[in-house]
Amino acid sequence: MQGYGDASLWDWSGALLNGAVVTLEIALAAYAIGLLLGLLGAIAKLSRVPPLQALATAYSTLIRAVPELLLIIILYYAGQTALNNLMRALDVSGAVEISGFAAAIAVLALVQGAYMTEVFRGAIVAIPRGQIEAADAFGFSRWKRFRHIIAPAMLPNALPGLSNLWLILVKDTALVSVVGFEELFFTAQQAAASTRNYFLFYAAAGALYLVMTLGSNAIFQRAERHVRRGQIQA
């Protein structure tokens, strides 16, 4: 039985590694979009435009109060329906199957963006006011002020939160298996069901996730050293 189990792990190793690559791909894409959403959300929250503020606050508060799995299921169906309605409105015949890949990325990015809004908002608020005033005094444009003063000054504050969110995201990708998207955990479930060796394949999937999270941890530690260069170390 054990020998059979080992052979099946070998048979499935290609599929599992493939799943791990897909997991990393959707995580990276969702992270990039989430960063953008979070930055926009933070800027909206800190802006002096009440409707923008309200919108960003509603977005980040509601998303963070609802369980991720529930959100992923709701957004997945909502996205599919919305796309179908759009296609019908544009007179494209037949229901379109929304690409699972795009849907998985969109849903995860929307969730990440809500948490990133809070991370960026906190990091920007923590910048000493004088630094921003100095940029204004030097006549920096808004973009230059953001690019040369705000962004580099907030990164050391934001990075611990961002690294935490990346780890959460890598683990959250497993949730899209519930709506039938084929990533690492979905593949592991298929392998487990077809070989009946549940223990082995779930342990193997866990090990692959662990490699990803520990690996990214090391990378983020380096990044943190990099953005904190020039700061006095405590």
């Binding site: 809070e118 949730l175 223990f199």
Partner: protein
């Protein structure tokens, strides 16, 4: 939006069962998980080296893998091996070991043990040594020092963070619907399958979760206020994790 199905007592029954199970899961795993967390933290700050390593490894593995994978590992992986062990099926524990609810509670307990354990480890390490030495000087025994000085001081330091952990626990409960435990999400799934409504049941339980999160926050805020010397946390929600 069609919410007429809410007048059907059968569906209300499912929702109520899901609601109660959600509360039981949070309460049970919260209490058991926190006990485990204290042990995990204690092993690292005061335990012998091998025990400290073991607990460090436990924390790393649990925090580095998705909760959903852990849930399936315990339920399908470990759960299916159990009947093969001699005598398990005849034991008194078998009705419990056959129940998906048990594996849900087990996975959550272990998860809380690892995440809250890491929080407690930091808090216990940051209790000033002088206070522990003072307790020793007053003739406190080791257990007394732990229960009357070290733990209360550590909880004082990290209680707001533990509040966040409780909210994260609440938000992980829907995962058990994947192993067919009747929680709120599973109740919504039953309604969806029978009424063919896609959104209404999901939106309803999303609303319930928002309310539950709010209530849990208020309850924990009360606990924080009644615990002497705690600085209440300003933010209501902290980042999620699965």
């Amino acid at each position: 939006m069609d919410f007429s199905w809410l007048s059907d007592p059968a569906y209300l029954g499912y929702l109520w069962e899901g609601f109660v199970n959600t509360l039981i899961l949070v309460g049970l795993s919260g209490v058991c998980g926190f006990t485990l967390a204290v042990l995990v933290a204690l092993a690292q700050v005061a335990g012998p080296k091998p025990l400290a390593w073991l607990s460090r490894g436990f924390t790393t593995v649990i925090r580095g893998t998705p909760l959903l994978v852990q849930l399936f590992f315990f339920y399908d992986g470990v759960g299916r091996l159990l009947p093969g062990i001699e005598g398990v099926q005849d034991s008194m524990l078998w009705p419990v070991l056959r129940d998906a609810f048990f594996y849900g509670a087990l996975a959550f307990t272990i998860s809380v043990g690892a995440y809250a354990g890491e929080v407690m480890r930091g808090a216990m390490a940051s209790v000033p040594r002088g206070e522990l030495e003072a307790a020793e000087a007053f003739g406190f025994g080791r257990v007394q020092i732990l229960l009357r000085v070290w733990l209360p001081r550590a909880i004082q330091i990290c209680l707001p963070t533990l509040t966040g952990e409780m909210i994260l626990l609440l938000k992980s409960v829907p995962l058990v619907s994947t192993i067919a435990v009747m929680d709120l999400l599973q109740a919504a799934n039953v309604v969806r399958n029978e009424t063919f409504l896609v959104y209404e049941p999901l939106l309803l339980i999303a609303g319930i979760y928002v309310a539950l999160t709010l209530v849990l926050t208020i309850v924990m805020r009360g606990v924080e206020r009644s615990f002497p010397g705690v600085q209440p946390y300003r933010r209501i929600l902290i980042p999620g994790r699965i």
